[in-house]
């Protein structure tokens, strides 16, 4: 692995925001993100006072609940140089909506903290490439990989080339989907509230993926991954679904998302 940052410089302190979905559903992807940042030469802290960025409530129009959920976050990440997030959607919430969320709260301290967090938040792969100058990730793979762009990554965080470059550097054969810039249908609570529409959108995405016959479907957002993996699984597809951090880190002990487990507990056999 090579980076452009010299070892003599003072290490940058990165606060890893694990995100509630990775914390609950896919800790392996969070551990992979942590190792990637350390490999890139960052001093990584994982503040314990984190839970969720408040996006589910914010997008439901419930400002009070969103503020309540996001408040611990403001203090927790106050002191780090960067906030790095293995999700374009949560990164987009922090970078583009947190200021609006606390706007009108009357709490000037919280508003100041929100602006500071907004300015230093990055999505994981774009941080590795654009800030840390990572060229080659530690993981190696020969897989044919279809990469899915989450809408927030693409439109709010300008992430598209970075994960593809790293996957190619890891040895992957990266294939583009026909409708790469079309939403997979996740949309947070939308996926449960409007299951008919969301499910139809996920089916279009799954068909696009299967048409490319990849070994693996990879993305940087846990919500999209659960949605796509869920539809592929229902269609009986054999495409493996994984978070991009797992592939770039190279430790893929966990079974794929929605994939069958080796043991009943879900953890790989020792």
């Amino acid at each position: 692995m090579t980076t452009s940052s010299g070892s003599s410089q003072k290490k940058v302190t990165v606060g890893l925001f694990v995100t509630c979905l990775i914390d609950a559903m896919r800790p392996s992807a969070g551990m992979a993100a942590l190792r990637l940042l350390e490999t890139a030469g960052c001093e990584v802290v994982v503040p314990k006072d984190q839970s969720c960025c408040g996006q589910p409530a914010w997008n439901s129009g419930d400002i009070n609940s969103a503020r309540k959920a996001a408040t611990p976050f403001l203090d927790a990440f106050d002191t780090c140089d960067y906030v790095v997030v293995p999700s374009g959607s949560c990164a987009g919430m922090l970078a583009h909506h947190l200021v609006d969320l606390f706007d009108g709260s009357g709490d000037t301290h919280a508003q100041k903290q929100a602006s500071s967090i907004a300015a230093k938040t990055h999505e994981l792969t774009s941080f590795l490439v654009d800030v840390m100058g990572m060229k080659t990730p530690p993981g190696k793979t020969g897989a044919r990989i279809a990469y899915h762009d989450s809408c927030s990554s693409l439109r709010e965080m300008q992430v598209s080339a970075q994960p593809r470059a790293l996957l190619k550097a890891a040895g992957a054969d990266v294939v583009d989907l026909d409708k790469a810039d079309t939403c997979c249908g996740f949309g947070g609570t939308f996926s449960v509230k409007y299951g008919d529409i969301s499910g139809t959108m996920s089916d279009d995405k799954a068909a696009d993926i299967e048409g490319k016959d990849p070994d693996m479907l990879v993305a940087g957002d846990m919500g999209c991954l659960m949605n796509i993996a869920g539809r592929l699984s229902r269609r009986g597809s054999s495409v493996e679904v994984r978070h991009v951090a797992e592939v770039l880190d190279g430790v893929m002990e966990a079974p794929p998302i929605a994939g069958p487990r080796n043991t009943a507990s879900g953890r790989p056999e020792e």
Binding site: M25, M31, A258, R267
Partner: protein
């Protein structure tokens, strides 16, 4: 027009099972998306043009009263008349009165979404005046007794075979064995049927894409030329337009016309751009004897002072519909009123009432594609979110949603407790899922699991692993 937006969920369920609709939607999106993309790529200054257009619109919205008054003065100076109508009932009545004043029995119509708001066709029909739609798509759906499913392609929900069936039934005087298997043959048949009707009509009613304050002119764009025939061959021309169609000058129109066609169909310009500036003058070769503009507010003034103000920048190009994955999944009728797609999700609640269109601002994944392609850069997801905030403030959301968000946010605001609870829950769920790694069904997740499996959590939270790894390293 009556709204059925309240029955959105039922309409969606029916739309999703409709295979003909699915085929038609797939044709629409696969045709129009690449056309817009190549038209935009072919004009390097497209983004500057957008910024210019937005600046004009924002300025005009700030001074709407002034420009509308100037427009009225100039229409009158040209020999025309302007009628101000606060709501749909007064607009309908005004148009009916004008028809009676000019002894109008038959009306040809150019495509106009605001007349759909008014439910004008049914109203005129019930008062003994026969309206005939002359836009091909509008003509087809008028024959079928339907409403437009798209703001510029009203019959886009139909496949060619369905249109051929409609023509066979409606044009019973034609040879039953005629070939109707191409778009050209269908268009030619409609053209022949319509052609003789233009001259016979007493009045032509059109909408307006733009109203120009400095000249008192109105502009319509069409690809069929039906608008020209509608407004020049009848004795009376009635333009029906909503207030936000006003722009200051003819030069401004050039900016919008270039944006409109590229965003809509990927054309550099629409085939026909038709200006109307009053009745026929002495020496004119053609034109109507009388020219009326019916200005319709119907909720726009209220929007001007409210949080949906930015929606008034809309130039009705339909780019947001054409690029919306939700619209592509359900078609336009499910939205339940005149406007559909992302712009309809903001406009319909704003104009008909949020209580009558509760689902519309919520039925979006916030993918942001609509805002990306909107020539006026209207922040549609933000406007939909604003409407969701209003629903929360007005307690229009379900009690289940309110309780779940309250419990969730209370838990999330106490990270240690949150981790304890979610850690335990994920272990239980991982155990329940077992070797399969997915759930086919779980309580409260029916919306998800109807079409998708629910991936099981790995089991245990991130922080348990993180703590364990730190201990190992120390």
């Amino acid at each position: 027009m009556e709204t059925t937006s309240e029955r959105f969920r039922e309409s969606v369920a029916a739309a999703i099972r409709d295979d003909e609709l699915k085929g038609a939607m797939s044709k629409l999106t696969s045709a129009l998306r690449p056309k817009r993309a190549s038209a935009v790529a072919g004009l390097p200054e497209f983004d500057q043009l957008r910024d210019h257009g937005i600046a004009i619109k924002m300025h005009t919205l700030d001074h709407m009263d002034t420009y509308l008054a100037r427009f009225e003065d100039n229409v009158i100076a040209n020999g025309g008349h302007v009628h101000w109508c606060a709501d749909e009932a007064s607009a309908r009545q005004t148009i009916l009165d004008l028809c009676r004043q000019h002894n109008v029995r038959t009306v040809t119509k150019g495509k106009s979404m605001v007349t759909e708001e008014l439910g004008l066709n049914a109203f005129l029909d019930s008062h003994g005046i026969l309206p005939l739609e002359t836009d091909l798509g509008e003509y087809i759906i008028q024959l079928r007794g339907e409403h437009p499913s798209h703001i510029i392609a009203p019959a886009t929900h139909l496949q060619r075979e369905q249109i051929a069936d409609t023509f066979r039934k409606s044009h019973a005087h034609l040879d039953a064995n005629r070939a109707m298997d191409t778009a050209e043959s269908l268009t030619e048949e409609a053209r022949q049927e319509l052609r003789e009707k233009y001259g016979a009509a007493d009045a032509g009613i059109t909408g307006a894409n733009f109203m120009i304050a400095e000249t008192g002119s109105t502009i319509i764009v069409t690809n069929e030329g039906n608008g020209d025939l509608t407004q020049t061959l009848a004795k009376v021309h009635i333009v029906v337009a909503s207030l936000e169609k006003i722009i200051p000058t003819m030069d401004d129109a050039g900016v919008f016309l270039r944006l409109l066609a590229r965003s809509a169909t990927g054309q550099d310009m629409s085939v026909y751009t038709t200006l109307s500036s009053g009745p026929r003058r002495a020496g004119d070769l053609d034109g109507p004897d009388a020219f009326h503009v019916v200005l319709v507010d119907n909720g726009r003034s209220a929007m001007l002072g409210g949080s949906e103000r930015e929606m008034l920048r809309c130039i009705r190009c339909s780019a947001c519909l054409n690029h919306c994955p939700v619209y592509a999944s359900i078609g336009g009728h499910a939205y339940g009123w005149v406007y559909s797609g992302p712009m309809g999700k903001v406009l319909t609640p704003s104009l008909t009432g949020l209580d009558k269109a509760k689902d519309l601002p919520n039925a979006s994944s916030f993918c942001g594609k609509c805002q990306e392609v909107c020539p006026m850069r209207i922040p549609l997801p933000k406007l939909m979110r604003n409407l969701r905030v209003k629903q929360t403030e007005m307690k229009m959301t379900s009690w289940r949603q309110r309780i779940l968000l309250f419990l969730w946010s209370s838990l999330a605001s106490r990270p240690a407790l949150y981790r304890f609870v979610t850690g335990a829950m994920t272990k239980i769920l991982a155990g329940l899922a077992g070797r399969k790694g997915v759930f086919r069904w779980l309580p409260l997740t029916g919306g998800w699991t109807k079409m998708r499996d629910l991936p099981a959590p790995e089991g245990g939270g991130f922080f348990a692993r993180y703590d364990a790894s730190r201990k190992e390293n120390n």
